[in-house]
């Protein structure tokens, strides 16, 4: 949990509307856990005011400027341009100053090493699954089911393959991989491999569908959620989701930023938390 000023190392469009940014991040190789996120301050002005949360895609090292120095640590984030903050982010260049608060939140639990794992990613939801995959492939067979609306939404799949992950791509319009929803692929895989743990991140309708499928089959599921966040550290109570014990008389709210963003599916109230991750519909400013 650190808070520092740093610089952008690179920032590139990797698919229409999707950007990948490398940020100098000393200490992150020791600190960052799969599924954690950072609060990213786009620029030191009042507009946009709040920091933006982004999942950590991966932590890497690059050669130092001179031989005697330790290699430099960086993180990569991958983001979709949806509103005022990401609009500014896409124009950042190598060397531009930014601020990072993190790594934050509770990440994934790697689960039983003897069990096979299925990762389900929807579009930008793929991001937090990469570090998880790096971890899981050390001990278990890992399959990635990656879904998107069109092929533009299918990102970084080859990098998962290089880790040894078996990947299955589906798009709603059939422009890449199988035509259809990623949840259809999930059902087929679960028919074949019923004893797995599932890890999912993506748009809320996808996550809800995955939850139904897994609950029906009594398959263990961890989900990574998005919520509107102001502080990222548990202070503002803006980012809550309803817990499994939630009722109108006896409400149970969990902070997505500190008790999540990764939750075991059975920690949550699936009837009520549709409000999670509504986002701001792009344009709340």
């Amino acid at each position: 949990m650190k808070d520092f000023k740093t610089i952008v190392l690179s920032n590139q469009e990797i698919s229409p509307g999707y950007f990948r940014m490398k940020i100098l991040a000393p200490g992150y190789s020791q600190l960052a856990q799969p599924g954690q996120f950072v609060m990213f301050r786009v620029q030191s002005s009042m507009q946009p005011l709040l920091r933006r949360p982004f999942g950590i895609f991966r932590v890497g090292f690059m050669a130092a400027d001179c031989d005697e120095m330790a290699p430099k640590e960086f993180i990569e984030i991958i983001y979709k341009v949806v509103g005022s903050g990401t609009e500014i982010m896409k124009d950042l260049h190598s060397g531009d100053p930014v601020e990072l608060l993190g790594p934050l939140g509770k990440g994934f639990d790697s689960g039983d090493p003897t069990e096979e794992k299925i990762l389900v990613g929807g579009g930008i939801g793929l991001v937090p699954l990469y570090m998880l995959a790096e971890e899981l492939v050390k001990k278990s067979k890992v399959r990635l089911l990656m879904g998107g609306r069109t092929r533009d939404d299918i990102i970084t799949v080859t990098e998962f393959e290089r880790l040894g992950v078996e990947t299955y791509v589906s798009t709603e319009d059939g422009s890449l991989g199988e035509e259809g929803l990623v949840t259809q692929v999930l059902e087929r895989k679960l028919d074949k491999y019923p004893n797995v743990t599932v890890f999912a991140c993506g748009p809320m309708p996808m996550i809800e569908a995955v939850e139904k499928i897994c609950t029906n089959r009594a398959v263990a599921l961890q989900v990574s959620l998005e919520a509107l966040m102001a502080c990222g550290v548990g202070a503002c109570l803006g980012c809550v989701v309803m817990g499994a014990e939630h009722s109108d008389d006896n409400p149970q709210y969990l902070c997505t930023c500190t008790q999540g963003p990764v939750f075991a599916a059975d920690e949550l109230d699936w009837n009520k938390n549709k409000v999670v991750a509504t986002g701001c519909g792009g344009g709340c400013k």
Binding site: Q47, P48, L49, L50, L101, L228, A230, C231, V233, G283
Partner: protein, 312 residues
């Protein structure tokens, strides 16, 4: 035209409010700093003038449905709904952490009824380490009970008088800006026994998602905070300072030392930093350092000389 200024090496930043000695006039605003522990990894709480905790009620409070927050132009709306662990759990679990520090703790609290206000104040009265109580009569987020205490001078007087009897601690009354004449509420609070006033709480506001045609907050209406509201806050503090004799704490849109100085110059004895903590967890440390630099450069040996130095 450069006037000659004697440079000061170590200006005095300490101020006193209702008998509480503060190392400097900077403290967090309630609800934006959790129970202190959330920001302790980023900021040495011993540096602060005081710590002000999240608003406490008699019973634990769940808060509102989500979405609870929304960014606006240079500000944010919140309708957290005063979610909190309840005063007993606070005393048991949260105060212990804060008692480690050599910094006065100001506990913000509220109630849904006069009696609840009184009861929370009573329970906090003998808690060690609680330097003062800040009474929130102004939160616009709670639907409960209809009209807000702080918008009705009569209701405000009644509840403040009651609380006054239940506590021996210094009592800070936090005013709502959503009124026609803030001087009226300020005077009512002073007459009812407040030892100090703090203002402003959030202004009620609303934002709409034009695609879904729904309010951006589940609660429809929320409280506006952040730099956008600062001019309104400075104006109200200026007016209140002129209306009462008790000390005033300025709040609203402070993000840097220059902003804090506006409030001090119009006459606030101290200030609270709210939304800016979310943007930069170290912001209060920066403000304290920059205040010191400002005093050095302007030749101010004691920050108290600056307080209320507005030239009209």
């Amino acid at each position: 035209m450069s006037k000659h200024v004697e440079k000061i090496l170590r200006p005095k930043l300490a101020v006193e409010i209702a008998g509480i000695k503060l190392k400097n006039p900077i403290m967090p605003a309630s609800g934006t700093f959790g129970y202190g522990e959330e920001y302790a990894p980023y900021l040495d709480l011993n540096q602060l003038g005081a710590v002000v905790t999240k608003g406490m009620s008699l019973n634990p409070k769940a808060g509102n449905n989500t979405p609870r927050i929304c960014e606006t132009v240079s500000g944010m709306l919140n309708a957290i709904g005063l979610q909190n662990v309840g005063v007993d759990a606070f005393i048991e679990k949260k105060m212990v952490f804060l008692q480690q520090y050599d910094t006065p703790v100001i506990v913000n609290f509220f109630g849904n009824t006069q009696e609840e206000y009184g009861e929370v104040a009573a329970r906090l009265d003998d808690v060690p380490g609680v330097a003062a109580l800040e009474m929130n009569i102004s939160c616009p987020n709670v639907k409960h009970g209809g009209i807000v205490f702080g918008t009705d001078p009569g209701a405000a007087s009644a509840v403040i008088s009651l609380v006054r009897k239940k506590t021996t601690k210094p009592l800070i009354v936090k005013l709502t800006p959503n009124v026609t004449d803030i001087q009226v509420t300020a005077r009512a609070a002073e007459e009812s026994g407040a030892d100090a006033l703090s203002l402003i709480n959030t202004l009620t506001g609303m934002a709409v998602d034009v695609k879904t045609r729904k309010p951006r907050l589940a609660n429809t209406i929320g409280g506006l905070s952040g730099p956008a509201i600062r001019p309104i806050a400075v104006r109200m503090v200026h007016q209140v300072v002129q209306a009462v004799d008790i000390p005033v704490i300025g709040i609203g849109g402070i993000t840097r030392a220059m902003d804090a100085l506006e409030f001090l110059i119009v006459g606030a004895k101290a200030v609270q930093v709210g939304t800016a903590n979310f943007v930069d967890p170290k912001v209060m440390a920066t403000i304290i350092a920059d205040l010191e630099t400002f005093c050095c450069e302007e030749g101010i040996s004691d920050i108290n000389d600056l307080i209320g130095s507005l030239e009209l």
